[in-house]
Every structure is written in C-alpha cells, then in structure tokens.
C-alpha cells in the first residue's frame, strides 16, 4: 500500500477501447470533481494506451485538472497484467488518495488486480461516493475526510457504507450510468503529463484472437420515457403490452432483472443495479415488485408510475403515482386513454 497521503489527488482510470473513451470514465470525472473539490486536491485522469493522446482534451473538457498519459506499444490492447503493472507504478510514484474505475468487464478485471498488488482496499459497484468521517469502534480513533464507499449488498437487502482508512489508495468501482455525465467545457485547460512505464512482453501472457462487439440495441439512458415490465407480466408474449405502451408514448421498453432472467426481454433492456441506471422524465413500472437492486436503477426518474396488483409491493414506496390493479386490465386502459388524447 501507499502511505496515507492527505495531499493525494483524486484519480479516475480512463478506460478506452480502440481509442474511444468509455462513458463511465467521463461519468466518474463528474463525481471525481466533486470529491476533489471537497478535499481541496486535484482531479487527474490516468490514460494508458497507444495513440490515445487526442483523448486527453476530452478528459480535460470533462473536468480533469491533469491527465497522466502513458503511451506504450505494449499497452495497445488491454490486458490485466500489463495494465495493472502500469497503474501500480503510477500510483506508487504519485501517491493519489483515491482511484476510481468504471465497473465494466475491463474495470472489474483490472481494479482487483491493482488492489491486490498494492495491498490496498477496493469496493466494487458503488452506488454513491461521499467524503466523510469514520470512528474506529474499538479504539475510538477518528479518521476524517475518508471516501465513504456506499453500495447495496447481500442481494440488495442492505446498503453498506465501506471505508478504508489506512490501506491506501482508497479505490472503488462504479457502474455506468450511476453518476451523471459531466458538462463538457471546450475551453477548459489542464496539464498533460507523459509518464514512462516499464513493461516487457512477459507482462502480456494473454493473446486476443478476435473480438466481437455487439452494439446495444437500445439506448435506455437517452430515453425520455421508459415502460418497464417485471416478472408480473407473466410471459414473453404478454410483454407485448409493455412494447405497445412504450410505442404509444414514443418511449423505450425495458425490463427488471427478473423479467430478463425469465426471458421476457433481452439483457440490453435491463434496468437496475446490474443493468442500466436511467433517469427518464417518466418511468412506468409494470408488474415490478420494486426490489432494491431495481429501484437503484430508476429511483431518480422525474416521475414514476407503478402498476401492480399487490398494494404492499415496495415499488409503491418509490412511485409518484400508483395504480393497484391487474396490469392486463390497466395497461390496455392506459393505452386507450393515451391514444384518445393524442
């Protein structure tokens, strides 16, 4: 681990594939900015790769004060061992106090390896990050201005706040869509620091033979209106009700994890902690009970309408409007009323 360094910067690992920055890295910059300001330290992005220098300006426009640019032929393609070595070398050199990673397939492959090498703490899939104090129960020692790493746990039945007061850097991964995208400021200025790193071909034991990238069929994050169905919809055939309601509103269809697991709708349409986090103007939850992991993905919708036959369903605690009734009866009535007004 590195020493507890109160002057340490807040870092965001800038993930890029084929020279395109992942959205989650930019989202982390907006949160990183808030954390850095709160701690009165600088925010930096770490960008390893090859021929990725043009991305520095995007990172600065999204709030980074600095970019640590690490260009190396052996970093052209991501691999756990080479990238972890790179991050470790930089962290040991510059001693940041916080390092954030997107909880993507890449981030979840990389961050634990860095944490292990540094013997530092790492919390996965945080749904919120704050700066706060922590008192050690046994000794009553107080540690101020720590990164409070907040996440649902235990199948989503509890919210845990995790801290790491002495095995720094404090590191966390955050899923895409949890933090908002930052505003881009094209006139922002920042430093680009070129960093050298020591790597050999032995750091690249894995060879990529090929890759197939499937573009997502639906962009839930951009949808203004979302109609989501849960297990209560009953079948893939009956999910037609969800599609019909979404279509008549000009919105997107979505599903809870239960609906996806049951095969009612594809994973691309999943809303929730392990799916996509959305903030539409209107979210209609049909036959969704409202488990924490689902609510975590849609609670910030401007207006939430819940339709469920169970008046005790937790979803009603999060909804602005609620209809207690049989969705097979209510949804057609809703479609009819919307078409009548249109």
């Amino acid at each position: 681990m590195i020493n507890v360094n109160r002057q340490g910067e807040v870092w965001v690992f800038a993930e890029q594939t084929d020279s395109r920055l992942s959205e989650v890295s930019l989202e982390l910059l907006s949160k990183g900015r808030a954390l850095a300001d709160s701690l009165n330290v600088k925010l930096a992005a770490v960008l390893p790769g090859r021929n990725v220098r043009p991305l520095c300006q995007d990172l600065i426009a999204c709030g980074a004060d600095k970019v640590y640019l690490v260009e190396h032929d052996l970093l052209a393609d991501y691999q756990a061992t080479s990238y972890a070595r790179t991050l470790c070398q930089l962290i040991e050199k510059h001693q940041p106090q916080i390092v954030l990673y997107g909880a993507t397939a890449l981030g979840r492959d990389l961050a634990p390896r860095v944490a292990s090498a540094l013997r530092a703490g790492l919390t996965a899939d945080c749904t919120d990050l704050q700066i706060g104090d922590y008192t050690v129960p046994q000794s009553q020692d107080v540690h101020r201005n720590l990164l409070l790493q907040i996440r649902p746990a235990f199948g989503g039945n509890i919210i845990a706040t995790i801290v790491n007061f002495d095995r720094w850097p404090q590191m966390a991964t955050v899923r895409e869509g949890v933090m908002p995208l930052p505003m881009r400021d094209g006139r922002a200025t920042g430093q680009v620091l070129c960093e050298a790193v020591s790597l050999t071909p032995a750091d690249l034991p894995v060879q990529r033979l090929d890759r197939q990238h499937a573009e997502k069929k639906v962009n839930l994050k951009a949808a203004r209106i979302i109609v989501a169905g849960g297990a209560g919809v009953g079948s893939r055939e009956n999910f037609r009700l969800i599609w019909d309601l979404a279509n008549c509103l000009g919105g997107a269809a979505a599903g809870s994890r239960a609906a996806v697991d049951l095969g009612f709708i594809d994973h691309d349409h999943q809303v929730g902690q392990t799916g996509t986090t959305v903030r539409p103007a209107l979210y209609i939850a049909v036959g969704i009970s409202g488990a924490v992991q689902h609510v975590a993905g849609m609670a910030e919708s401007a207006k939430i309408l819940a339709i469920n036959s169970d008046s005790e369903a937790p979803i009603f605690q999060t909804a602005h409007y609620g209809i207690v009734g049989d969705l097979n009866d209510v949804v057609p009535r809703l479609i009819k009323a919307i078409r009548a007004k249109a």
Binding site: L122, F165, K216, A281, L282, L305, I323, I338
Partner: protein
C-alpha cells in the same frame, strides 16, 4: 494430457430467498435465518473443471474457506465428482474482506503446489464483488481470464476461451497455469450422482465432530475415504497480519436496512376515469407529449 484443477468455492447465504426475518431489528443480517447454498457460479466453475477431467483426465480439488458447516458444499462437490475436497477453517480468518480472503486462499494453493488451472465463480451472491478471483491470480503471479463463458480448446499447455465483455465477447489464448472466473452462462452444472451421494453423505471434517473428536471415529472415516481434509491458517503458513479483520483494508462503517421513502404516492383508481385523469395530468405538465 491430464490436468490438475483447483476449484475455489464458497458457501453463501441464499440471498435470492430473503424473507421478512432476514434482517435483525438492529439492521444487521440474520444469517441464521438464511439457508446456505453452494455459490451458484462456483458450481459452474466446478462443472467446467469436471468437464476438463472427463475429457482429458487429471484431478479436481475443491477448496472452501469458511465455517465448519461449509462442509455441506464440499460434500456437494464430492457428490458431483470432485476427487479431493479441503476445508480451510480458522476463527482468525473471520471478518476477512476480499484481500484477506484471497491471501489465505493463495496460501492454501501454494501448499497444494501442483496445479494447471484454478477456477472459481465470477462472483459470490453475498458480496457481489468479483474480486477474489483476480486477487488470488495476482498473489500467485498467474495470468487471469475473468467472465469466461466458454472453454473453446485445451491443447497441451495452451488454453483458448471465450470471455464475455458485456456487449459482446472476445476469444483469448493463454498458457497454463492460469486462473479463470466462470460465468453462470458457461454451462449447466451436473446434478449429484446417486452412488456418490450415498457414499459421501457420510463424509465429514474433524471440525464437524465437535471440539474433541474421538480418534477412533476419525480413523474410521479416514480409512473409508470419508474424512474431509481440514486446514487452518498455520497449516497454510499464513501470516496472521494479512488475515481476518487486521488483514482487511475495507471496513464496514455502517449497514442500513433499505430505507424506503415514506409512502407518498398519488393513488390512481384502476378505472377508465381514474386513468384518463392521470393521462390528462401528465399531458398538462408536459411529461407526455
């Protein structure tokens, strides 16, 4: 050629079957109220190891770190075909986070010394971190491939797998030894074998026989191949500074039961009239066009 596989497995509370009494009044988790299960993706990892052995020969050793009752999953591993199972149990390992857990597991693997592949589930359903696999790989200085959805080929010391990358997949090639984390979509775990179940349901670890197990009982189990091996932190030469609470950088500051917002929703009648008024309201405030 035969391959020696080590499978890392965890017994977890069945978080998918959480009922009303899962939480204590003080907000802590009532683990006693939850049935404990073989972590689902670890079963997929075991299945992959067994398939490798079925095709190429070799051995499958399953290790679990936990309380003595974790032997339930070791027996389940035996029913499915594991050759050797080991319980790693020690009070001093309690409160270990992923870093401490991966350290302890890596010590156990070092004691086993001989292996070609280490397999574990992508993540456990209680912590959901997916960290232990990569951290064990780092500690053993092994390459890792996470999110494995398919083993494509195993040719001498060269392994080819398909890895899930969220929106798509990639095909990767790596030389053994390697650590793989396996996804639920990789395979369908085989059920317990009837004969193996009949034999191994009597298998036990010393810790399950009480504080001072009768040596004759242990001897009897041992001779029938029913004594589950049991190691503690000293057996695996673990440095206690890296174990348990002291070895865990991440500490739980606070646990809160999910606090649901006070019920403040506008109840809409499930009638044409009620629904029409709702639609009218949503159009009025420009929520719907």
């Amino acid at each position: 050629m035969p391959y020696d596989c080590i499978v890392l497995a965890k017994q977890v509370p069945d978080t998918k079957a959480v009922g009303a009494n899962a939480m204590n009044p003080d907000g802590t988790v009532n683990r006693a109220a939850l049935p404990a299960v073989f972590n689902p993706e670890d079963l997929n990892a075991l299945e992959l190891a067994l398939q490798i052995r079925d095709i190429y020969g070799g051995s499958v050793t399953v290790i679990t770190m936990g309380l003595p009752k974790a032997c339930d999953i070791l027996r389940e591993a035996l029913y499915r075909g594991a050759d050797r199972v080991i319980l790693l149990t020690d009070r001093r390992a309690a409160a270990s986070d992923t870093l401490a857990t991966s350290y302890i597991l890596s010590c156990a693997i070092r004691r086993l010394a001989r292996y070609d592949l280490i397999l574990c589930g992508r993540q456990a359903i209680d912590g959901d971190t997916a960290q232990v696999g990569p951290q064990v790989a780092e500690k053993l200085h092994l390459p890792q491939v996470t999110y494995v959805e398919k083993l494509e080929s195993l040719d001498g010391m060269t392994l080819t797998v398909r890895r899930n990358i969220g929106a798509g997949w990639e095909r990767l090639r790596v030389n053994l030894p390697v650590l793989l984390t396996v996804m639920d979509i990789a395979n369908q775990p085989r059920p317990a074998g009837a004969k193996r179940l009949m034999k191994y349901k009597k298998a036990q670890a010393p810790a399950e026989l009480g504080p001072s197990p009768d040596p004759a009982t242990l001897d009897h189990l041992g001779r029938r191949g029913l004594l589950i091996e049991q190691w503690n932190l000293d057996d695996v030469c673990a440095d206690l500074r890296w174990c348990g609470r002291d070895g865990s950088p991440t500490k739980v500051h606070r646990i809160q039961s999910v606090v649901l917002r006070a019920s403040g929703f506008k109840q809409v009648s499930p009638t044409d009239d009620g629904i029409r008024r709702l639609v009218h309201e949503l159009i009025e405030d420009h929520t719907i066009g």
